[in-house]
């Protein structure tokens, strides 16, 4: 059994809570307005300022931020979220309206201005997505200027927690931990590392899994037919391409896989990471193409060299028999690609980087050595040759991934945000919340 989202016409696009409350399929009739007003009064509201990269910027954190903001907004019809986007190759005009300001990565004053804008806004809390590379200065330290200036409660989601950070990298995470009211990590290992190697107090760390799309399980056959790959065992790796993906090792595994499954097809889905393209162009992809040619695998390895939209990506995942994440960096603490594969309930072969080691435990996937074409081949063959093993693995992966569906992850974040707004853990946020509380009581009409 494989998985796929149902076709768009099978999905009720206009029935989520926000749509029903704010417009509804039939709109609100005058006699219903009393109920509308009641809903406006009782439904919880929280205005969140997201600070991160944001689409159309092409990067995993941008996608993550958009998906998180979208999922949360579906539960909070009367909230007014805003985004402070980290500048990249995208002009401010290209962003959606929710993006109110763009921080210029290398301009320190820009970080101060962003903090002032949030301080003066209705935002009740800040959701900061942290990855060293998206901010300016050595190891992205300019983000500390932003945090020093900010007066509102902060949740910082850490997309990287290095096992062996440099002194400056460690200092930055410690400073973020001091100023943030909570740090979110996506695996337990991240929590352990923050406590042991960064001296972050445990009470500040919260584990919330990486969100995945809501996908229901259906047969893979239909999807394969629509993609023109019917009757072929499909192996795939997806995401923005860079050398850390280790795709060359999966390609080198293909001759052994083809001995057992002569019709197998390996799909490499995604374009080169824009950040990588800026300094080395398409040289990695060209090396991979040369390797395919050298091994005579042209009919068995296919590249889809573009940024895939979610629906298309899910379709490819649904058509996949074995997902492979042959990454070479042991320290990798999160992988959106692996999270999505779990969410789709796929059988997975992976190297044991930190995130994979944790989420693929208990039979949810097969771990193989780093840089090991033989290991990848052996793992992939064992899954393709054993339908029972495969079904067990898919079911376990799907059950695990289901808990991480965006609609559940959004509730986890909302829960944390509400808690922090009521009980902030930092001095700056406490002061802000006390002032807000005093103002609110002054606004409240006296009995």
């Amino acid at each position: 059994m494989a998985t796929t989202p149902k076709s768009p016409e099978q999905v009720d696009e206009d029935v989520d809570l926000a749509s029903v409350v704010l417009s509804g399929k039939d709109g609100w009739r005058p006699e219903d307005l009393k109920m509308f007003k009641f809903l406006r009064e009782v439904l919880n509201r929280i205005d969140i300022a997201y600070v991160a990269t944001y689409p159309p910027q092409e990067c995993g954190i941008a996608t993550f931020t958009r998906d998180l903001a979208t999922a949360i907004s579906k539960y909070t019809p009367f909230s007014n979220p805003m985004v402070i986007a980290m500048g990249g190759e995208v002009d401010i005009q290209q962003y959606p309206k929710s993006v109110r300001f763009q921080i210029q990565k290398s301009d320190r004053q820009s970080y101060i201005e962003a903090a002032d804008l949030i301080n003066d806004s209705q935002a009740g809390a800040v959701s900061l997505q942290h990855e060293y590379g998206i901010f300016g200065g050595p190891d992205g330290e300019y983000i500390l200027d932003f945090l020093d200036r900010l007066t509102k409660p902060v949740i910082a989601t850490l997309h990287t927690v290095l096992f062996k950070p440099s002194p400056n990298q460690k200092r930055i995470v410690q400073k973020i931990a001091e100023r943030a009211d909570a740090l979110v990590v996506m695996v337990k290992m991240g929590r352990d590392m923050l406590i042991q190697h960064y001296d972050v107090p445990a009470y500040k760390i919260v584990m919330i899994p990486h969100g995945v799309p809501n996908v229901h399980r259906v047969s893979a056959g239909t999807i394969k037919r629509s993609l023109g790959i019917m009757d072929r065992p499909v192996i795939s790796t997806f995401g923005l391409i860079n050398r850390g993906k280790g795709i060359e090792y999966a390609i080198q595994a293909m001759p052994a896989i083809l001995e057992k499954h002569p019709n197998a097809l390996y799909l490499v889905l995604g374009e080169t990471h824009p950040g990588v393209r800026s300094y080395e162009g398409e040289s990695y992809r060209k090396e991979l193409l040369d390797l395919v040619a050298k091994l005579g695998l042209e009919k068995h390895v296919r590249f889809n060299n573009r940024y895939l939209m979610l629906e298309e990506l899910i379709n490819y995942l649904c058509a996949t028999d074995v997902c492979v994440t042959p990454y070479v960096n042991r320290d990798q603490i999160v992988s959106g690609a692996l999270a999505y594969s779990l969410g789709c309930g796929k059988a997975i072969v992976s190297t044991p980087y930190l995130y994979a080691e944790e989420v693929l435990a208990e039979g949810r996937g097969l771990l193989v050595d780093f840089r090991s074409p033989a290991g990848i081949a052996e793992g992939t063959i064992s899954i393709l040759s054993d339908p029972v093993l495969r079904e067990q693995m898919e079911t376990r992966a799907y059950k695990y991934g289901r808990r991480a569906a965006w609609f559940n992850v959004a509730i986890d974040y909302l829960n944390l945000l509400h808690e922090l707004c009521q009980h902030p853990r930092t001095k700056a946020a406490k002061q802000y919340c006390d002032e807000e509380s005093a103002e609110a009581s002054q606004r409240r009409p006296r009995a």
Binding site: V15, D16, L17, N44, Y75, H216
Partner: protein, 124 residues
Amino acid sequence: METDLNLQVHKLDSIPVVKLSGDVDEFTCSKLREKIGTLLDEGEFRIVIGVEGVNYIDSSGLGTLVGGLRRVAEHDGGLAISGANQQIQKVLAITGLNKIFPVFDDDHAAVRSLKRKRARASGS
């Protein structure tokens, strides 16, 4: 793991109880909306939604419940929820919908509440 939504309706003390099992999400909520519509067409304006067998509910599921509440409210009816697990209770509390939907431990309590509401409305 069951993600499709199954619905079974039975009457408890003349009140229809819609027992749900599976997930109530963007793919499945139309089934619930249609079921509520059918009950309304049959003149049932007090309905219990039994969610004991529900694993997860997303914003589409919540939207469907609010839509259902609007429709029964037009007839001075009511919609109560029974058997919510911790996750669903958390979702209702986080959104504030727990202030709109009465949530009961079991179907009997939910039915009694709807009957009392009716009795109050008719002044008996």
